[in-house]
Symmetry: C2
Subunit: 288 residues, 2 copies
């Protein structure tokens, strides 16, 4: 058990480093099951634990998470819920699994938390469904750039890298993965792969890491094992990433939002197979 | 398009019928995709729309839903979030897809909404993740009865009925199903199957229907295509249902809650296969 691993590290973000714990606990539990023939067998299931976020000592939310990247999750949550304007506004993030809490201290409070948290939307995503504020309206202002192209070889390369990756899913199932890649000619390079019991935790964690690294979304490609519902597309567009790929499917509002923001959306991605649902002009086919 | 179907029906619930709309809109959209060989093909995706719940003119939440059973969803949401004590406290539920809203009128307000909504937990489930109040603490008081047994034949029968059912999933994918059955000797009888883009919407809708029908949980069996995370097990236990079956997997906290409440939990159910994770003594094997 890795229950109480709390280290303090420094994450360099511009001139103002964030003082951050490193309390990762990706725990897989072995349990005994009985199958349909009455046989007792060992199997593995993923952990699920609660993490309560306190922003300047104010309780914001309790997330249910695997716990593999809690500081990144907190960062991404604050980013995507617009509770902090910039990573530079954050002085420290301290995750403590003894109390299942994350204490965030800001340098300056720039956001009216009261006003933002008053509007609540529960979305269709796995996991972290709540979104504050009028995010849907903001979508109207996002238009992703025409420029970036993605080669068919790069798509196949990306899917092969995902397939080959050592994952908690392979051992225990019941988690979603999100990954972010950068383009490297006709190949792609994996930057991060994060798994969580909630797919929204996984995308928020990626979002947090990209925010911290000040990565421009237009250089990136985003992959998820989960469905592209409205909220997932909103998060992708907010990160400014023009390519969203899923192993799974798409909902009507997810597609509508991809159309509005000019986001290239690929679904049912597996092996060499994919289905382009929007903005196919960014995909360069092998034969062309 | 079935966008504006709003009928008024009476749902009989004890002495006090609820005046209820019947605004079901399970919409599947046809869209054109391009596959990896550059071929254009038609395919289907499920709808996803927002539904804002107003409780006595007070805005409570906005859910993202398929829209197949909106009144049941509203009922189940109010039940599971403990915003109403009994269906008899509800005078009317009117869903209007022109304004994407559900207006709920109570006969008497029995609950301190302000106090309940102040504590927010975002859970790992697909869909409706937010839970108000200290539900986890309440779990300690639930202990499901020893009595009910489930025959192996009934499990296989149940899975066959699910497989044979006409579903939106078969046509469009990207939705989760929840179903509730009653035991009928060594067989089972399907009472309701509800699909939604959020699996928590699906379970809440079932919960709403069972609440309205005043069905005792101990006579029922609950099936879901989604994972049994903490929140799903909490909802099952709150309905008093001793059997939770999933096609998918289980998280550690889901299992822990099943142990605490003495709930029989079956995972990886498909065809004749199942894995019992807790309380196997309620399952009667064919050979025994």
């Amino acid at each position: 058990m890795l229950d109480h691993v709390v280290e303090t590290t420094m994450a360099v973000s511009g001139e103002h480093p964030i003082k951050m714990s490193n309390a990762s606990v990706p725990v897989v539990h072995e349990v005994e099951i009985i199958d349909e023939l009455g046989r007792r067998k060992p199997t593995f299931i993923p952990g699920e634990r609660s993490l309560t976020i306190y922003l300047d000592k104010r309780e914001v939310v309790t997330l249910m998470t695997l716990g593999s990247a809690p500081e990144a999750l907190v960062l991404g949550y604050l980013r995507n819920q617009r509770l902090v304007e910039s990573p530079e506004d954050i002085e420290s993030i301290q995750v403590d699994w003894e109390t299942d809490s994350a204490a965030v201290k800001t340098r300056r409070s720039t956001v009216d938390i009261e006003a933002i948290t008053s509007k609540r939307v529960v979305t269709t995503g796995c996991g972290q469904g709540t979104m504050f504020g009028g995010l849907m309206e903001d979508m109207a202002q996002i238009r992703l750039p025409e420029g970036p192209k993605l080669h068919q070889e790069a798509i196949v390369d990306l899917l092969e890298q995902i397939r080959a990756h050592e994952t908690i899913y392979k051992k225990a199932g019941s988690v979603h993965a999100c990954a972010v890649f950068e383009r490297d000619g006709e190949k792609v390079r994996l930057l991060h792969l994060i798994e969580d019991v909630g797919r929204h935790n996984a995308v928020d964690s990626i979002s947090g890491l990209m925010w911290l690294a000040k990565r421009r979304g237009e250089d990136l490609i985003f992959f998820t094992t989960g469905r592209l519902t409205s909220e997932m597309v909103i998060k992708g567009a907010q990160m400014g990433i023009p390519f969203l790929l899923t192993r799974s499917g798409v909902t009507q509002m997810g597609l509508e939002l991809a159309r509005k923001t000019h986001l290239t959306l690929l679904s049912r991605c597996s092996g060499k197979h994919f289905e382009i649902y929007n903005a196919p002009e960014r995909v360069v086919f092998q034969s062309s």
